[in-house]
C-alpha cells in the first residue's frame, strides 16, 4: 500500500495491465513518448515498449476505429481521447460500431475497448476542455460509462473496465487528478495526501462496475453524485450539518439501482448532483427511476443541482459550476419541504 494521487493511480492500473496481459495496448495523442498531457501514461512506453504504448495521429474517429478493429481481433485496446470534449469526432464509431457490434453480429464480434478520457470542469478550460458528456453515452445502449472519484477507485475501476468484454467509456474527472477538489475554488486546494482513498494497493485488484459506494451514510436525504461532485457534495453536507447519505455512483451504466432505491426509500428525499448541464442530463434519468420506484416513499420533490444550460463559459466558470453553496441550498430546500 502506498499513497497515490488519481493520475498516478490510473498510470499504475495501466502499468499493471500492460505487465499482466499482452493483449492490452495503450495509445492516443501524445500518449507514447511524452506520456500524455496529464501524465497518465508517463513512463509506460519506456517500460513496456513502443509496440504496447504508442502515439497516434490527431484523428479521434481513427483512434477509436483502430481500437475497435484491434478489439474485434482479440486484443484489449485502451485508447485515450485527450479531452472528453474531443470525443465527438469518434461518436459515430462509438455509437454505430462499438456499441452494436456484438448485437448485430449475433455475438461473432465484439469490441472490448476501454476509452479513457479526462472530463469535467473547474480548471479554467473553457468550452473545449471542461465538458461532461456522460449522459450522451449513457443513452447509447451497448456502452458502459464509468466515472471514478478517488485514486483507489480509479485504479480498481480501470482494471475492471479493461477486463470487461464490453466497450467502456472511462471518464476521468481531471479536476481530481491531484486532489479531492471540494468546489471551494477560492480556498487553498488540497492534495490527495492523507486521504484514506489515496491508499492504493500495489498490483492487481478490481472495483466492480455497477456497484455504487455509500461514501457518507445518513438518514435525512439521499445525495447522488459521481466524479468531482462527490467531493463537492460532501463539503456541502458538512457545511449544512444535514445528515445526508452521499452515494458515489462510480458507474452510471451499469447503474446500481438497488443502492439508490434503498437509500431513497430510507430518506424520502433526494438531491441529484452533476456538473453537466441540467436539461437532458443524467440527473433526469435518475430522477425518473426514483420516482418510478420510490414514489410512495418520497416526502418531497427530487432536486437536481447541475451546470446551467449554457455552453461551458470561461469567465463564469464558478457561476456555472454547481458548487457547495448551490448544493447546500438544495439540501436545505428538500429538508424544509414536507
Amino acid at each position: 500500500m502506498r499513497e497515490l494521487n488519481m493520475v498516478k493511480a490510473i498510470n499504475d492500473a495501466l502499468d499493471v495491465m500492460l505487465a499482466r496481459d499482452p493483449d492490452v495496448l495503450v495509445f492516443g495523442e501524445d500518449v507514447g513518448y511524452f506520456g500524455g498531457v496529464f501524465r497518465a501514461t508517463e513512463g509506460l512506453q519506456a517500460k513496456h515498449g513502443i509496440r504496447r504504448c504508442f502515439d497516434t495521429p490527431i484523428a479521434e474517429g481513427g483512434i477509436i476505429a483502430t481500437a475497435i478493429g484491434m478489439g474485434a481481433q482479440g486484443l484489449r485496446p485502451v485508447p485515450e481521447i485527450q479531452f472528453a470534449d474531443y470525443i465527438l469526432p469518434a461518436f459515430d464509431q462509438l455509437v454505430s460500431e462499438a456499441a452494436r457490434l456484438r448485437y448485430r453480429s449475433g455475438g461473432e464480434f465484439w469490441a472490448p475497448i476501454t476509452v479513457r478520457s479526462p472530463y469535467g470542469g473547474g480548471i479554467f478550460g473553457g468550452q473545449t476542455h471542461s465538458q461532461s458528456p456522460e449522459a450522451i453515452f449513457a443513452h447509447i445502449t451497448g456502452l458502459k460509462t464509468v466515472i471514478p472519484s478517488t485514486p483507489y477507485d480509479a485504479k480498481g475501476l480501470l482494471i475492471a473496465a479493461i477486463e470487461c468484454d464490453d466497450p467502456v467509456i472511462y471518464l476521468e474527472p481531471k479536476r481530481l487528478y491531484n486532489g479531492p477538489f471540494d468546489g471551494h475554488h477560492d480556498r487553498e486546494i488540497g492534495t490527495w495526501a492523507g486521504h484514506p482513498a489515496a491508499q492504493v494497493p500495489e498490483g492487481h485488484y478490481t472495483v466492480p462496475l455497477g456497484k455504487a459506494a455509500v461514501v457518507r451514510p445518513g438518514d435525512a436525504v439521499t445525495v447522488l453524485a459521481y466524479g468531482t461532485m462527490v467531493h463537492v457534495a460532501l463539503a456541502a453536507v458538512d457545511e449544512t450539518g444535514i445528515d445526508a447519505e452521499v452515494i458515489d455512483l462510480r458507474s452510471i451504466v451499469p447503474l446500481d439501482i438497488e443502492t439508490i432505491v434503498a437509500s431513497a426509500n430510507k430518506t424520502g428525499r433526494c438531491v441529484i448532483v452533476h456538473e453537466a448541464s441540467r436539461f437532458g442530463g443524467f440527473g433526469g434519468e435518475l430522477s425518473s427511476l426514483i420516482q418510478e420506484r420510490c414514489f410512495y416513499g418520497l416526502e418531497t420533490a427530487i432536486e437536481r443541482v447541475a451546470g446551467w444550460d449554457t455552453p461551458y463559459p470561461h469567465a463564469f466558470e464558478w457561476d456555472y459550476f454547481p458548487g457547495p453553496a448551490r448544493i447546500a441550498a438544495a439540501l436545505r430546500r428538500v429538508m424544509e419541504n414536507t
Binding site: L25, R51, T56, P57, A59, G61, G62, I64, A65, T66, A67, I68, G69, M70, G71, A72, Q73, G74, L75, P77, P89, D92, Q93, S96, E97, R100, L101, R102, Y103, R104, S105, G106, G107, E108, F109, W110, T141, G142, K144, C164, D165, D166, G210, V253, P254, L255, I257
Partner: protein
C-alpha cells in the same frame, strides 16, 4: 509505381485472352471456382430480389456486375484473412461456400436467422468465412480493418485484412483517417475502393475525382495505389496477390481502386431509371465479369457451353432448394426468433434494465 493510379490494370483483353505482365497465371480449377462463385451470386441475387418483390422480405441489394471482386479476392487470399465487406461484396461469401440456407434465413429474419433477427437483410456476419460484421452505415469499418491488421501484425501473424469502401464513401472522414493510420503503422491491410460509378443517384465525380482517380488518393498518403479493371477476374486476382505479398512482407498497405459498374439499382427501394439512362449498363465498355471469365475459360479449352448451362441449372436448383427450405421455416413476419433474442447480446451479460424490460415485453 507512380503511374499505376492513373493507368488501368487489365489482363483479359476483349477477345478473352490473358495478356500482359499482370497475368496471375491462375489454375483452370481456381478460375472455374471463381466462375461458379460469380454465377452463384447472380443466381442467388435474382432469386432473392424476386422474393422481395413477392413480399418475403423487407429489403434486398444485388451485386450484379461486381461479382468478380469478392470472388477473386476470396479465392486468392488465405482462409484466416479477414474481409471488411460492403453490402455489394456478397460474392466473397459465395466463393467461400457460405451456406445458402443461412443467407436465406437471415434475409427472411426467420426463426433460424443466424443473426437472431437483429440485422437488416444481407448485412451478414460470418467470422468463420473471413467476413466481418456488415452494417448499413458507410465507411465506418474501413478503420476496423486497419486495427485488425495492426493486431495481426502485433501478434506476428501472417494474416491480413482487406476492406471495401464504395467510391461515394471515400468522401467520408473515415476513409482518410484509415489511410493515415494504415500508412503511419504500415498495417498489413488491402484497402479497396469499389468504384461502381454510382452512389445511389450520385455519379463518381461527386466524390471529388472529376480530374483524378480514386487510386490516386494513395499518393498523398505515401501508399501504392492500383487502378484495376474490376470486371476482369484475373486483373482483380493479380492486383490482390500483389498487395497481399507486400502486406505479408511487412511492406504495408495498398489502395486498390476496382473500376466497375453497378449494373442494377442501389437496392430494392431504388429506381435507377430516374437518374441514369435505362440502357447504360449495356453500354458499359468493360463488359460483364461473368461473361469475360467464361469466354476466357472456353478459349483455353477449360470450359464449354454445355458445362456452363449445366452449372447454372445446378446453382439454380441449389438456390431454389435453399429458398424453399427457408420458406418452410418462414418468411419475414411469418416466423421470427424468440422475442428474448431482442434483449440478448446488447452486453456480454444483460444488466437489470434488460432483464426487467424482457419481462415487461413478455419475452
Amino acid at each position: 509505381m507512380r503511374d499505376l493510379p492513373f493507368d488501368l490494370i487489365r489482363v483479359l483483353d476483349d477477345e478473352g485472352q490473358a495478356v500482359g505482365p499482370w497475368d496471375p497465371r491462375l489454375s483452370p480449377d481456381l478460375m472455374r471456382r471463381g466462375l461458379r462463385a460469380m454465377l452463384r451470386t447472380r443466381v442467388f441475387d435474382d432469386r432473392l430480389f424476386r422474393a422481395h418483390r413477392q413480399g418475403k422480405t423487407s429489403f434486398y441489394m444485388k451485386s450484379t456486375g461486381e461479382e468478380a471482386i469478392g470472388a477473386a479476392q476470396a479465392l486468392v487470399l488465405e482462409r484466416q484473412d479477414m474481409c471488411f465487406p460492403t453490402y455489394r461484396a456478397m460474392s466473397w461469401l459465395h466463393a467461400r461456400d457460405y451456406p445458402l440456407i443461412d443467407m436465406v434465413n437471415q434475409i427472411f429474419s426467420n426463426a433460424s436467422d443466424p443473426l437472431h433477427g437483429r440485422q437488416l437483410p444481407i448485412l451478414f456476419s460470418a467470422r468463420d468465412y473471413g467476413f466481418y460484421s456488415l452494417s448499413g452505415n458507410l465507411g465506418t469499418r474501413y478503420g476496423h480493418a486497419v486495427g485488425w491488421a495492426m493486431a495481426s501484425a502485433y501478434r506476428q501473424s501472417d494474416s491480413l485484412a482487406l476492406a471495401y469502401c464504395g467510391e461515394g464513401s471515400t468522401a467520408e472522414g473515415d476513409f482518410h483517417e484509415s489511410l493515415t493510420f494504415a500508412a503511419v503503422y504500415q498495417a498489413p491491410v488491402i484497402l479497396c475502393v469499389t468504384n461502381n460509378q454510382w452512389a445511389i443517384s450520385s455519379f463518381a465525380g461527386l466524390a471529388g475525382t472529376q480530374d483524378t482517380t480514386f487510386a490516386a488518393r494513395a499518393i498523398g498518403y505515401g501508399l501504392p495505389g492500383l487502378r484495376v479493371d474490376g470486371n476482369d477476374f484475373l486483373a482483380v486476382a493479380a492486383a490482390t496477390q500483389w498487395a497481399a505479398e507486400r502486406a505479408r512482407a511487412n511492406k504495408g498497405a495498398t489502395l486498390i481502386e476496382l473500376f466497375t459498374y453497378r449494373a442494377t439499382g442501389h437496392s430494392t427501394s431504388d429506381d435507377p431509371t430516374r437518374y441514369r439512362p435505362r440502357d447504360e449498363a449495356e453500354h458499359w465498355p468493360l463488359g460483364d465479369p461473368i461473361e469475360r471469365l467464361r469466354q476466357h475459360l472456353v478459349r483455353i479449352g477449360e470450359w464449354d457451353a454445355q458445362r456452363h448451362d449445366d452449372l447454372i441449372a445446378q446453382l439454380d436448383a441449389e438456390v431454389r432448394a435453399a429458398v424453399r427450405e427457408g420458406e418452410a421455416i418462414g418468411t419475414l413476419g411469418r416466423s421470427k426468433p424468440p422475442l428474448s433474442e431482442m434483449f440478448e447480446g446488447v452486453f456480454a451479460e444483460p444488466d437489470w434494465r434488460l432483464i426487467e424490460q424482457r419481462r415487461e415485453a413478455g419475452a
